[in-house]
């Protein structure tokens, strides 16, 4: 049920015909997990919060560092040393006190991933490494929860929406988890843009309108300003989703 306050706060998006009050109600009833509060996760959770998703869970195990501040826009100088989910949740609670924001200062592992995401309507990939992305991908497939993948490198970014059982998953494309954790080049604008695209997918998916980036990867190349697509094909031998029907 939308309150009078909700109708005012979200007035401009409710005017969007395909969305309307019904779409707003659906967002209000939704629970989204943002995995990672770095460049992608900060911008994603900011827009999930202002658009009125009823419950946003923020999970990360890192603390804010000075070198994060070129892109992780929910963390300020005064937050250096603070756990990222705590820092982010404090800002988001001020932005929108009518929704629930749950910070979880914890590392996502193979053992706890399913429990962390259980019951969520979707998971936003804001991770900064392969390993946890693949853990989340597997957990989302197991729980049947949509997973909106985003990744960035320099001025390049990619996004795709994974619907378990219906679309290829990350492991269909990359059967072995790459082992690499190094500092990559990145401008703040790249994760911001990719995160906004992830949230655009989230809004449509939760409210039930429009078409999604399913079965295809959207690539953004910032140095040439090209947006291109690649069709993704399900791998029947996929270790994660191969036993389910396409």
């Amino acid at each position: 049920m939308l309150t009078k306050n909700d109708l005012t706060r979200y007035e401009r998006q409710i005017l969007y015909a395909d969305f309307g009050e019904e779409g707003q109600k659906r967002l209000k009833q939704s629970h989204v997990v943002v995995a990672g509060l770095g460049g992608l996760g900060c911008s994603a959770s900011l827009y999930l919060t202002c658009t009125g998703v009823g419950h946003v869970t923020l999970i990360d195990c890192d603390r804010v560092e000075l070198s994060n501040l070129n892109r992780q826009v929910l963390h300020y100088e005064e937050d250096i040393g603070e756990g990222k989910p705590i820092s982010a949740a404090r800002k988001l609670a001020k932005l929108n006190s009518s929704i629930e924001v749950t910070p979880v200062f914890r590392k996502i592992t193979e053992r706890n991933a399913r429990e962390i995401i259980k019951g969520a309507n979707l998971v936003i990939d804001g991770m900064d490494n392969f390993k946890t992305r693949f853990i989340l991908n597997k957990a989302c497939v197991a729980e049947g929860i949509p997973f909106i993948h985003g990744g960035v490198h320099g001025l390049f970014g990619e996004v795709t929406t994974i619907l378990p059982g219906r679309t290829p998953c990350l492991a269909c494309i990359f059967p072995e988890v790459p082992q690499r954790k190094v500092s990559l080049p990145v401008f703040g604008v790249t994760p911001a843009l990719i995160a906004i695209l992830q949230v655009t997918e989230a809004i449509k998916l939760l409210a039930g309108f429009g078409s999604l980036l399913t079965g295809k990867m959207l690539y953004f190349s910032g140095d040439t300003m090209d947006f291109t697509f690649r069709n993704l094909v399900k791998n029947q031998n996929c270790k994660v989703c191969g036993t389910k029907d396409v």
């Binding site: 392969f130 490198h153 790459p178 190349s221």
Partner: protein, 90 residues
């Protein structure tokens, strides 16, 4: 014998902006070597120090995964090889 290699956008910059490069070879490995001989910087990006394909690269032939035979899958005239790179940053 002509095989098309479709480059991931990150690699296109290393190949003078080309999206598709025509190469020759009987296997995916031979085709990649042909590509790398013309664009050595691509080799640095997709192979490790021992010449193994980096794990964040996947090789598709006609949109099908070649895993675990990324470098030994046979190809024929008209086939398309895709080099896909998984970006890790967030």
């Amino acid at each position: 014998m002509s095989i098309k290699v479709k480059l991931h956008p990150i690699l296109q910059k290393l190949a003078g902006g080309q999206e598709v490069v025509e190469v020759t070879g009987h296997t995916t490995g031979e085709c990649l070597e042909n590509l790398e001989s013309r664009f050595p910087v691509i080799k640095q990006m997709i192979r490790d120090n021992r010449g193994q394909l980096r794990r964040y690269c996947e090789i598709l032939v006609n949109s099908e995964s070649t895993y675990p035979k990324e470098l030994t899958t046979p190809v024929k005239d008209g086939d398309q090889i895709d080099i896909v790179i998984f970006v890790t940053g967030g």
